[in-house]
């Protein structure tokens, strides 16, 4: 046992900050008079922490969760490059059961925080679209994988850089991505070709849009098809964010400013 305890002591030796992921308030209070800087990363600031980073998605993948927390803390100038951070998180259901030591460096920066916090659209809207895309990726249509392309934010400009493929089923409707009805409509969604355009506040503006951005010089990983290409290109031409569900490999990817920022496997959620 001694070596285990020693290892734990080594893990937390001279850390600059402690990141607590969704702590309970009694757990948080135990850190109250600790000299280490404490940053709380959670969906809501239930514990009234002074330094708090909002977690828009639950991020089942602990790596993504930690990345998000660290990037958020960097963004709020709580952490700097080179800092040593101890992260207390929950890997399985239940309380905080894991301790991870991370060195803040360039490699940890994936833009995942940027995607939510600094997008034109509201973070909750991006999260909702993610959830819709993930749900769609899980279900597919009649067991077959489907693809989908959502362009979120800056809808006015996106509409002017695209044209309709068919009648817009969302004309004069007021459906928002967070609405419960969207989950019911998911199956129908997968049949529609073209892109979905979602406004900053989450209103589904249009389906069946054919995007016409200038695609020269857009650099996306090889092997991704036309859907990803047009999604990435429109985010470079406008201030929008593209969330793409791939038909071929079933992954959900997010593009911003023409670059891939996040890749999620729906099966992990």
């Amino acid at each position: 046992m001694a070596s285990l305890t020693d290892h734990l002591t080594d893990l937390v030796a001279d850390v600059d900050a402690a990141l607590l992921f969704s702590p309970t308030s009694s757990f948080y209070e135990r850190f109250a008079d600790d000299e280490v800087e404490v940053v709380v990363v959670a969906p809501d600031n239930d514990v009234d922490a002074e330094t708090f980073v909002e977690l828009p998605l639950p991020f089942d993948n602990v790596k993504d969760r930690i990345r998000f927390g660290i990037e958020g803390a960097i963004d709020e100038d709580l952490l700097a490059e080179g800092d040593e951070v101890a992260c207390v998180a929950s890997v399985f259901d239940g309380g905080s059961d894991a301790l991870v030591r991370v060195t803040v460096d360039e490699g940890i920066h994936t833009g995942i925080f940027d995607l939510f916090a600094n997008s034109r659209a509201e973070p909750s809207v991006i999260r909702d679209v993610f959830e819709v895309a993930i749900e769609l990726g899980k279900k597919g249509q009649k067991g077959k994988p489907v693809g989908a392309l959502f362009v979120v934010g800056d809808a006015g400009k996106v509409m002017n850089k695209s044209r309709p493929l068919s009648y817009n089923p969302f004309e004069k409707s007021h459906v928002h991505v967070g609405d419960p009805i969207v989950n019911v409509m998911l199956k129908e969604f997968s049949r529609l070709d073209g892109a979905f355009v979602v406004s900053d506040s989450g209103k589904i503006v249009s389906a069946y849009r054919y995007l016409e951005p200038a695609a020269e010089g857009v650099d996306i990983p090889k092997g991704l098809g036309a859907r990803h290409m047009s999604g990435a290109a429109i985010t470079r031409d406008t201030n929008s964010t593209a969330i793409v569900l791939s038909e071929s490999d079933g992954l959900v990817r997010a593009f911003k400013a023409g670059e891939l920022v996040l890749e999620i496997d729906p099966e992990e959620y």
Binding site: A155, G156, K157, N160, S199, D200, S201, K203, V205
Partner: protein, 262 residues
């Protein structure tokens, strides 16, 4: 000893029939009071009252005295029934002295009971309203808004106190005048402050229902030309190169809309 044994049944036989009846009424009343207390407590619990009022100041004070609001209310109904029973029993037993007094009490008791219940409910509702408003405002870190929850609480308590005082027959005219003046000021201020918002919302309903322009259209409204980015109940967002104009909907409506095609 034998004399005493004889006198007890004799004494019992001599007790007037009315007294027996009164005792019976009293016993029945006790039982009823107890049952009412238990049933009331259960009903209030079942209705989820303890969860709803949890955390209110009244409940916390009650907890300090090792009781709870629900228990107090249940007790109150028990005592009320008990008091009525005692009066009925006294009447049945034909206790003549102070008859005037008892009849006055009998008439007054239900009103007092209602007054106390109204007052307690008023305090609890006021506390709850304060909590709700405070919770709503917690996201907005503006110290000036701190008086709002207290204001809401005391308004509710004030009205409850008015009703309670009215029940027990206290002259409340002056207090009612005060309340009317307060309500009038509140309505006036609200109307003045939200005039534009209400007008915008009315125009916004039209814009959302009829959609004379949608997201992506190029328009000129209220002197600003650009692409519509967002239409909601109160405002329309219009964007030109790098500039986003947030135009209140009543201005859109008043000055008309120019749709630019081409």
């Amino acid at each position: 000893m034998s004399a005493a044994q004889i006198t007890v049944p004799e004494f019992l036989a001599n007790v007037p029939y009315r007294i027996w009846l009164a005792l019976g009424v009293l016993l029945f009343g006790l039982l009823l009071a107890y049952l009412t207390g238990v049933i009331n407590r259960r009903l209030l619990r079942r209705a989820g009252v303890p969860e709803v009022i949890e955390g209110t100041a009244f409940e916390r004070t009650a907890r300090e005295f090792d009781t709870s609001t629900v228990r107090i209310l249940a007790r109150l109904s028990s005592y009320f029934i008990l008091a009525v029973t005692v009066i009925v029993a006294l009447t049945v037993a034909d206790v003549n002295y102070l008859e005037q007094f008892w009849s006055g009490v009998a008439a007054f008791l239900p009103r007092l009971f209602v007054a106390v219940v109204v007052f307690i409910v008023g305090i609890v509702v006021g506390d709850k309203a304060e909590l709700l408003v405070a919770e709503r405002l917690r996201g907005i870190k503006l110290p000036e808004l701190g008086v709002l929850p207290t204001l809401v609480k005391y308004s509710v308590v004030y009205v409850a106190a008015l009703i309670a005082l009215g029940q027990v027959g206290v002259q409340t005219l002056a207090l009612i005048v005060l309340l009317a003046a307060y309500a009038f000021a509140l309505v006036l201020f609200a109307a003045l402050a939200t005039k534009d918002l209400v007008a915008s919302a009315a125009a916004g309903v039209f814009l959302l229902l009829r959609q004379p322009y949608g997201i992506g259209d190029e328009v000129r409204v209220a002197g600003e030309r650009g692409i519509v980015q967002e239409v909601d109940l109160f405002v329309t967002h219009i964007e030109t190169d790098g500039e986003e104009h947030v135009v209140p909907n009543h201005a859109v409506f008043r000055e008309g809309i120019v749709l630019i095609r081409g």
